[in-house]
Amino acid sequence: MRSARRASHLAMRMKGVLTLAIQNSPKSFSVQEMIAAKKQKKGPSSSIEKIVPFLLLLTAIVSVLTTLGIVFTLIVETFTFFGRIPLQEFLTAQKWYPFSETQGSYGILPLVSGTLKVTLIAAIVAVPIGLASAIFLSEYASDRTRRIIKPILEVLAGIPTIVYGFFALTFVTPILREIIPTLEIFNALSPGIVIGIMITPMIASLSEDSMSSVPNSMREGALALGSTKFEVSLKVVLPAAVSGVVASIVLAISRAIGETMIVAVAGGSTPNLNWDITSSIQTMTAYIVQVSQGDAGYGTTIYYSIYAVGFTLFVFTLIMNLLAQFIARRFREEY
């Protein structure tokens, strides 16, 4: 009774809005007809449907164009640089003395060695700690522990790098100098360790994601064969998640290669081609900072050199990404 009254009330209220079809049969009305009526009235909704994909494409193009623009600028300015300094000298010369008036030497190797030293130390610190934390979080930690620890890790990843830089210079370096008395104030070891600390959460968090997405049925299968929890983690879960784990490590190492503030603050500005981690270094990024701070005028060889160095850096990260894709595909365990 009541629902019938409500229906007729509703119909009466709609009458004003609705078209002829309903006026002809005042007792009942068809939803399909109402939809048709609405559609006739509302023209613009269909044109919105047509515009939206176009707008979305436009925004996607913005980022693609920006990337292309950056690469283009890099290449053009790099070519200008190689017009003045032969590529062979750039790749093989052992010294990087761009500021010397009389005997300027542009050999990229000392800067590359600085970057590699720091990156290697960072990887040695971050990969084991990051993976161990990922295994703990994904396989051993209770839900509660994970819910507490993971956000903290992610906060660690959000600390500005300049803070890490001063942490390296004013906290880590003095401690290291207690242990290794020959350590210089600016060195490769301290920023390397601190970059390692910085990228650890990245490896831990991303690896944990890919390890927790390994289906439980696989853990059960392994446990039912009498495996211990550790064997399950190491021999079943980790291999099954390897593509995600490798991707996280490579992403983190790319970040270490491109890291700027920490090495600029704590690494020094002495490009040297050696494997000594206790003395002052200069990385590719730190060199770009040094020049950008105003030591060189527009159009000088030094000015163009930062593009060449930037391009080298770009090649490095590109290689890392390709390597990651290759490794992930090669060792992928599909499930």
């Binding site: 289906p215 049925s217 039912a224 064969l225 009498g226 495996s227 021999k235 291999p239 599909e334 499930y335």
Partner: protein
């Protein structure tokens, strides 16, 4: 007069038993087993004796506790948070709930095949070799032999012998399940638990797995949970009917399906519910 005939009958019966088969040992003796998920009781006072080298089927409607029970037998149930148990399950005379009983030790003796095929995302070879490897068998020659023997045992060798190094996920569902059985055979367990092993398979694959179970019972004791009553009737020697966490009836399969002694069993197997 009658007494002597009775006596003779008894004697004959004993003689029969002796000549046909020697008495089988009990593998699993469950006494007064109760199990709770938090506050909900899933198993109530279960008493079951499971004999070796037989196929014991566990049937019952969904939610009756049959999967819970089979997972308790190798303590996989402990992976579910909040599970509590009381009572005793003796495997070969030793209570599996004893603190001193290592769960890995138990699971090395008691293999399990799951509802959905769950091979590792590794090669076919590595899947089978996984068990022996974690238990310390490393020699390549021995592993090769184990892999072949297990795959033959699971009636899948001919289908996969030319692609042992390919990923197991390239196999069909039925092949994957037989691979999982091979993986289980590789550590030569004493008991094989099967938790609805054919529920995700097509009829032909199901048939193959059923035939396999018949062969395997020569060497292994098999406990199989199944949703499918015809399957239980086809392949098992004994059948236990579970309902609402209790064992309603446990007897020879022939008896359960021809002359069940409990009304509820009869209703279930004749399809009146469940």
């Amino acid at each position: 007069m009658t007494a002597t005939i009775e006596k003779q009958k008894v004697l004959e019966k004993q003689g029969d038993n002796k000549s046909s088969k020697q008495p089988k040992d009990i593998v699993y003796k469950t006494s007064e087993l109760n199990l709770w998920y938090g506050e909900i009781q899933a198993l109530k006072n279960i008493d079951l004796d499971i004999y070796e080298k037989e196929v014991t089927a566990i049937i019952g409607p969904s939610g009756c506790g049959k999967s819970t029970y089979i997972k308790t037998l190798n303590r996989m149930i402990e992976l579910v948070p909040g599970v509590k148990t009381s009572g005793e399950i003796a495997y070969r005379g030793r209570n599996i709930f004893d603190k001193s009983y290592g769960v890995e030790e138990l699971r090395t003796k008691v293999g399990m095949v799951f509802q959905k095929p769950n091979p590792f995302p590794k090669s076919i070879y590595e899947n089978v070799a996984y068990g022996p490897k974690i238990h310390g068998i490393r020699a390549k020659k021995i592993l090769d032999e184990i892999v072949e023997k297990s795959l033959r045992g699971a009636a899948i060798w001919d289908e996969v012998k030319d692609r042992l190094n390919q990923n197991a996920y390239g196999l069909s569902g039925g092949q994957q399940q037989r691979l999982c059985i091979a993986r289980c055979l590789a550590i030569e367990p004493d008991v094989i638990l099967m938790d609805e092993p054919t529920s995700a398979l097509d009829p032909i694959s199901t048939l193959k797995v059923e035939e396999l179970v018949q062969e395997l019972k020569e060497e292994f004791s098999i406990i199989i949970v199944t949703h499918n009553m015809q399957q239980a009737a086809r392949i098992s020697d004994k059948t236990a009917f579970f309902l609402n966490g209790e064992v309603v009836e446990f007897a020879e399969t022939d008896k359960i399906f021809s002359t069940p002694s409990d009304k509820r069993t009869e209703d279930y197997i004749t399809g009146r519910f469940g």
